[in-house]
């Protein structure tokens, strides 16, 4: 199959929000996020206004993805507790959840496990907002969703190529698209006005050494991705495991026991999370 022209890819990804498969509620949300003067109050109002979104937000917030002690019962409480960035990310995850399940079997489970692992690592590193790492873990592969939504046939050949050559999916993506899903995700995240840290993590989660401001956060998602694949949770498009970036490993400085602690907690959380998200 021919390669797709890179400008075509970029413009298709930037026009994603016009696709009929994108739910209306997500379109409204994107409009809201585009506006820099949108306040926490506006977002709280937006959630409360829609009973389905309210239910989904509360279910997600009370899941092991975020790991809050105790139960959060109301959107107001959530909004106050979480702050603007986390609430934005939370809403995006809720909206992207269905899309993710639709485009690739196993991608949701992979992302869920990455979200939990990233949060546990952030906690271990003493980061102030481990919930932001949850969201980054959940959305790091959003570029795959974008490519699959716009170029499904090409993505089929990407997966076949990765399988045939025994390479990781991003190598095959680069061969067919000229870019990988990290770049596609970065374009989508920019266009959709994601918070800055998310844009950087999504764009560099396979090359965390290039990350400029959020190098620890990016390294966390990079390692979480590798551990989750190594453990065998979910499916992210290939059966290989990407190589660890030495610098990311050094920056995080986890011992074998640290990682085993994280994995143990991940196992329990995955049981509970799968129960919540079986539909």
């Amino acid at each position: 199959m021919d390669r797709v022209d890179i400008n075509t890819i970029r413009s298709s990804i930037e026009r994603l929000n016009a696709l009929p498969t994108i739910p209306n509620i997500l379109k409204k949300l994107l409009k809201l996020l585009e506006n820099p003067s949108t306040s926490l109050n506006d977002i709280g109002h937006f959630i409360s206004h829609d009973p389905i979104i309210t239910t989904k937000v509360l279910r997600m917030i009370n899941s092991p993805i975020y790991g809050f002690p105790g139960r959060i019962y109301s959107v107001n409480q959530a909004v106050i507790l979480l702050g603007l960035n986390v609430v934005k990310g939370l809403l995006l995850s809720v909206s992207v959840f269905d899309l993710m399940k639709k485009v690739m079997v196993g991608l949701w489970e992979h992302s869920l496990a990455c979200a939990i692992t990233s949060r546990l690592m952030a906690k271990k590193k003493g980061l102030k907002e481990p919930e932001e790492s949850s969201i980054a873990g959940l959305l790091h592969d959003i570029g795959k969703v974008a490519l699959l939504l716009q170029f499904q046939e090409y993505y089929d050949s990407v997966m076949n190529l990765a399988e045939k050559k025994g390479v990781v999916i991003m190598e095959a993506e680069k061969e067919i698209f000229g870019i990988d899903h990290a770049k596609a995700g970065e374009w989508m995240a920019e266009k959709w006005s994601f918070p800055k840290n998310l844009i950087e993590i999504i764009g560099y989660h396979h090359r965390p050494n290039l990350s400029k401001i959020f190098i620890v956060e990016t390294s966390i998602v990079h390692l979480a991705d590798i551990l989750v694949r190594a453990r065998g949770f979910g499916f992210a498009g290939d059966n290989s495991i990407p190589n660890i970036n030495d610098n990311a490993w050094t920056i995080l400085g986890f011992s074998g026991n640290d990682i085993k602690d994280i994995l143990k907690e991940l196992e329990e959380s995955m049981d509970a999370a799968n129960e919540l998200f079986i539909e």
Binding site: A230, R231, D246, G256, K260
Partner: protein, 100 residues
């Protein structure tokens, strides 16, 4: 212990953990053999899935898990750090099944 979606629960399966209400009060004890009537009630409670005793369900043996791990790492270049990571995961899987 496999967790089975509620739609796939059939009479005769045995609960591997108690079913509780929101406050943690036990409604149905661990070990209870499920009947049509109980399954109907569980569905009405909006439960999504249950832990079931025995072999029913997609639980893998330790040997299967470790073989799958080898398979996943087959194509990884022999980078020392990747071998470290594989060994950590291997120990983790072994601990999941107890040291025996």
């Amino acid at each position: 212990m496999p967790r089975i979606p509620i739609d796939m629960i059939t009479p005769g399966m045995c609960l591997a953990e108690p079913v509780t209400n929101e406050n943690g009060l036990v409604l149905i004890n661990e070990g209870t053999e499920l009947t049509e009537t109980i399954i109907e009630k569980l569905k009405n409670m909006n439960l999504q899935s249950l832990r079931i005793k025995g072999e029913s369900g997609p639980s893998n043996t330790k040997e299967e898990m470790l073989a799958a791990l080898d398979e996943r790492f087959k194509r990884v270049k022999s980078k020392p750090l990747m071998i470290t990571i594989k060994n950590i995961i291997k120990e983790h899987i072994e601990e999941l099944y107890g040291s025996g």
